[in-house]
């Protein structure tokens, strides 16, 4: 690192909201803040992204809920959480009390549930701490026999539209999409058309591990989500394709929050150069509870080395 990192301009724009730096936790990889705050001040991050919350308390699935895989892992948590009521009365005020900029991740089994959760959130006294809402459309739609919302452009657009109706304009909506689709740009386009101000990509890839001794799936829930460095090339590809479509004017321009396999500042820069305006650190946090701030420091050093502002590097690897 060549210079004083505090002078590096890391600010980034997220659909109208300016963050002091692009580093975030990833939903479901940082709980709701207290646990990591033992290791570092979570207000140092550009934003803190909470675990996806649904309308009611959720027990999640049975265990085993995880399987380690080469340079990654499978998880099958089943969106365990306290429900939006407990979230707004307990978690959100605490996040506000420590000065965190919060991105609340919301989920639902129906598009109405998404809207209901968003509505309750907007009404919360601590809503002032919320910088953006991440709409986790990479979860199963009960009405369509469990087909994931983000596997279908129309369902994706519907969820965003209903949520947009209840969320004030100044709060950006980020649609979080899955890479398990034939055409991720088409899903991104639909989410933006529905009302998303930005995209978070990628959620986990669907995977399975078999316990060869017991001769059955390793996870209680059979399938799990693959994450970690193993999937980084897929995340970079998804960001690249979507950002390229924006540059070419094929879909409207919007900020992309990059996530998938980021473990170091170099990885964060890789996603940035592909087109991400902000970076989430997920599974790497399990390896190193300080990963989000460590990556932030490393990224700051790389940006400084390049004598650049962070914003100048977004998408800079694109030829046109």
């Amino acid at each position: 690192m060549t210079e004083d990192l505090t002078t590096v301009d890391l600010t980034t724009d997220l659909g109208g909201v300016t963050l002091p730096n692009p580093l975030m936790t990833a939903s479901g990889c940082a709980a709701n803040g207290k646990e990591l705050h033992r290791f570092f001040d979570i207000a140092e991050l550009g934003a803190f992204v909470t675990k996806s919350v649904k309308a009611e308390p959720q027990s999640g699935r049975g265990t085993p809920r995880m399987a380690e895989t080469p340079s990654g892992m499978l998880n099958s948590i089943g969106l365990q959480g306290p429900g939006i009521e407990a979230f707004v009365t307990t978690d959100l005020p605490w996040l506000q009390s420590v000065g965190a900029r919060v991105i609340v991740s919301i989920a639902g089994e129906s598009s109405e549930e998404f809207a209901r959760v968003a509505e309750r959130l907007v009404a919360a006294p601590a809503f002032g701490a919320v910088a953006a809402i991440e709409v986790n459309i990479s979860c199963p739609n009960v009405a369509r026999r469990g087909l994931v919302y983000a596997c279908d452009p129309e369902s994706s657009a519907t969820v965003l539209r209903l949520v947009r109706e209840v969320v004030p304009r100044g709060i950006p909506l980020l649609a979080k999409v899955t890479p398990d689709v034939t055409d991720i740009v088409g899903i991104a386009e639909a989410a933006l058309a529905g009302g998303a101000d930005g995209l978070t990509m990628i959620n986990t890839l669907l995977g399975i591990a078999i316990d060869i001794d017991r001769q059955r799936p390793h996870l209680f829930g059979t399938t799990g989500g693959l994450s970690g460095p193993a999937v980084r090339p897929v995340a970079v590809r998804a960001i690249w394709q979507t950002h390229a479509a924006m540059r070419a004017g094929r879909i409207p321009s919007a900020p992309i929050v990059g996530v998938g396999g980021v473990r170091s500042g170099r990885d964060a820069l890789e996603l940035t150069l592909a087109g991400a305006s902000a970076i989430q650190v997920g599974t790497a946090t399990f390896n190193d509870p300080l990963a989000p701030v460590r990556v932030l420091g490393e990224l700051a050093g790389l940006v400084a080395d390049r004598g650049a502002r962070y914003a100048d590097l977004v998408g800079a690897a694109h030829p046109i």
Binding site: G28, C29, A30, A31, E35, L36, H37, R38, F39, F40, D41, K51, E56, P57, Q58, S59, G60, R61, G62, T63, P64, R65, M66, E68, P70, S71, G72, M73, N75, I77, Q80, G81, G83, R214, F220, G221, G228, P229, R263, S264, T283, A284, T285, F286, N287, D288, P289, L290, R294
Partner: protein
């Protein structure tokens, strides 16, 4: 990576390996981690990273703290070679380095007044019990330890352990050391004889359940240290949950890395635990209407 400031009684530190000694089928490692040594209490654990940034094994491995020396600034663990991660750890030697996060979780709770206590350890599960026994003894409790394993080589502490406790019984499944039988076999007699009201147990799930039931039948309380697969160890991933019934009678899927690893035995929903799987009880908070 250097040691991070202690914000809330937990830290991450690059620990030098001071020693690695064989102990039967296990290895006892002494790690230099003064920040952790001063904070830890018996029953807590540490989480070790497996090699550096180029390792394909991303997740930390958890180990009960065997003992600490606040003076020497060391933390000791006892490790069984159970797979690729523990193999890497058992191959560490003095002079090596390993990233350690700790102390983690809630340890054992001491009785409010001096009381006879029974400690039950299966395999390497006995590792944290000698330190626990010593701290109970300081508090005026008498300590009775049952040590068990499949075979002699799987016992931990059978030689040196007797010094830490008032009484020690050794059991092996195959009779290669001590008496033949399960580690829980002497428990009823010991409970009756000592009038112990507290049983501390660490070992496989089946043993913890049996210890809980025997203790309960004798009007005693069991504190059990569970071993659930953990992706993070620090409370952020929700992989390590167990159905635990709270004082309010409600069962929740609770993180064993944060609310445990030591739980009151009767709070654990043993009824849904079998063969390495844990189902969500139908009466659990937030349980799905129909189990998938």
């Amino acid at each position: 990576m250097t040691a991070t400031p202690v914000r809330d009684r937990v830290t991450r530190v690059d620990a030098a390996v001071r020693a690695s000694e064989p102990a039967g089928d296990y290895r006892r490692l002494t790690l230099v981690a003064p920040e952790i040594a001063v904070l830890a209490t018996p029953g807590q654990f540490v989480a070790l990273a497996i090699d550096g940034a180029d390792s394909a094994l991303l997740l930390r491995r958890s180990f009960s703290i065997h003992r600490v020396s606040a003076d020497a600034g060391t933390v000791e663990i006892v490790v069984a070679d159970a797979g690729p991660g523990t193999r890497w750890i058992t191959r560490l030697r003095a002079g090596g380095e390993v990233s350690v996060v700790g102390p983690l979780g809630r340890g054992f709770t001491s009785p409010s007044a001096p009381r006879p206590c029974i400690l039950v350890g299966g395999g390497y599960g006995s590792a944290p019990l000698f330190w626990l026994a010593e701290s109970l003894r300081v508090q005026g409790c008498s300590t009775h330890l049952i040590l068990g394993a499949a075979t002699e080589r799987r016992l931990f502490g059978a030689r040196s352990g007797a010094d830490s406790v008032d009484e020690m019984v050794v059991m092996t499944d195959d009779g290669s050391a001590g008496a033949t039988g399960l580690v829980t076999q002497p428990l009823p007699e010991l409970l009756t004889r000592t009038h112990a009201e507290l049983v501390y147990a660490c070992g496989p799930m089946g043993m913890l359940r049996a210890a809980t039931e025997i203790a309960e039948a004798h009007g005693a309380q069991a504190q059990v240290a569970v071993e659930e697969a953990m992706a993070c160890g620090v409370g952020v991933c929700m992989t390590c949950v167990l159905p635990i019934t709270g004082d309010d009678g409600i069962t929740r899927m609770s993180r064993s890395c944060l609310d445990g690893p030591v739980f009151t035995g009767t709070a654990v929903r043993w009824d849904v635990i079998a063969d390495g799987r844990v189902a969500v009880p139908a009466d659990c908070l937030g349980a799905p209407a129909v189990t998938p």
